[in-house]
Symmetry: none
Subunit: 126 residues, 4 copies
DNA sequence: GTGGTCTAGACCACG
DNA sequence: GTGGTCTAGACCACG
């Protein structure tokens, strides 16, 4: 359910964090749902277990998941923390673009286009 | 006119690129305008001249400025390339956020809020 | 009477130890009182009996309870050992905080606040 | 200036975090002061650089330090975050002890004793 | 089996 | 030189 882009400049562990957060934000993963064991996910993604462990450690510190010794990691109570990973980056870029002179209309147009494309691809109302 | 945030995770040279692009996008710097010599800008910012030189090299590679040996660097013909530095990052984040389940309405709200704040601070119509 | 927090970083067996010690310190459990059979408590808490057995083993080793083969476990003669489980951890943290520069007044304030809150919730004079 | 207790149950990276936070809380390290390079501190402590890097990564995520590429790590603007590492653990233990029946007077006595001892050892008024 | 910690060693970007 | 990332492999506590 999570995909990694080794090409990109974003570190793998952050991509994993965003992947998990995305599943939570979309409602695929719900409170107290178990997320894949670090070693299992690492094998699926073809990467080192430590990298997944690092991602899980960050998610736990951020209060997005909690770990139970010997049992695994589980989705914590959802308080919008998972969404922040996406809205904060978006807001930051919006601020930069607006400050650089990109007009409000252009930003809105981009959002509309992205959402329209997403609706075609992903399907389903939102 | 350009400020550098050493705290941030964005490398200085990229901040310089965005700074120059912003001045162009806002119309402060126009076609064939001379941009500050690398050493001068470096001194102003209190950073290593090599870092500014690197930024200028990238801007030239991207066709945003052109350099004339012994004369300096100048703003190239504006074809929206400078804006792309901001709109591309913005679009990328919008795509990520929407794919992660952030609803269209939330994205629009964020844009509106950012623009409203910017209008208060920066002043002037756009 | 004992509750387990699977979320926390404290292992379950230690939480059980503290739970039993708390009941003794508060006087709910008195000398020679029988404590619940490991299997019974395990069922109540919904955890593995081995975990409870491990806790009881530690409490016995610490001289807080004693076990009679075929009869069960009982509260040993109270010599302040049960309280130590709490005062030692508290003293350790107090020492760390003071050494780190937290002023005496702040520590006192925290204690007063915690006790005030506890009095409201738990009720009863102490 | 930081010491590590390999014996203890507290992970080394957390001891390093507390060590740095303590220096900040005590005022030894001030805003924008540079903290030792990860590799240097690792060598001093006789441990692996990765362990120190982990600690620094956590401190940066917690907003206690900030890192500058190629320059090092520096103390961030002090907003009481460093102190929290100590007061939170202390308050948690105070709450546990009080709930377990340790009377307010005993807790106060412990604090007073710890502070009195610290004053003798460390010297200096606080 | 599970997560947590640590070591050893490598490579990278930045400056 | 500095921090950041990742791999490989090990050992541990918990249950």
């Amino acid at each position: 359910m999570i995909t990694i882009d080794v090409t990109g400049r974003a570190p793998m562990y952050e991509q994993i964090c965003r992947g998990i957060c995305g599943e939570i934000a979309k409602g695929v993963l719900k409170e107290n749902d178990r997320i894949p064991a670090a070693r299992v996910l690492a094998k699926e993604l073809g990467i080192n277990p430590n990298t997944v462990a690092k991602a899980y450690g960050i998610l736990e510190r951020d209060g997005i998941i909690y770990s139970v010794a010997g049992k695994g990691c589980f989705v914590a109570k959802h308080e919008g923390k998972a969404d922040k990973r996406f809205t904060e980056g978006f807001e930051q870029k919006a601020r930069e673009a607006y400050a650089a002179g990109v007009p409000r209309e252009t930003l809105i147009e981009i959002v509309e286009r992205v959402c329209a494309e997403g609706r075609q691809n992903g399907g389903g109302e939102r």
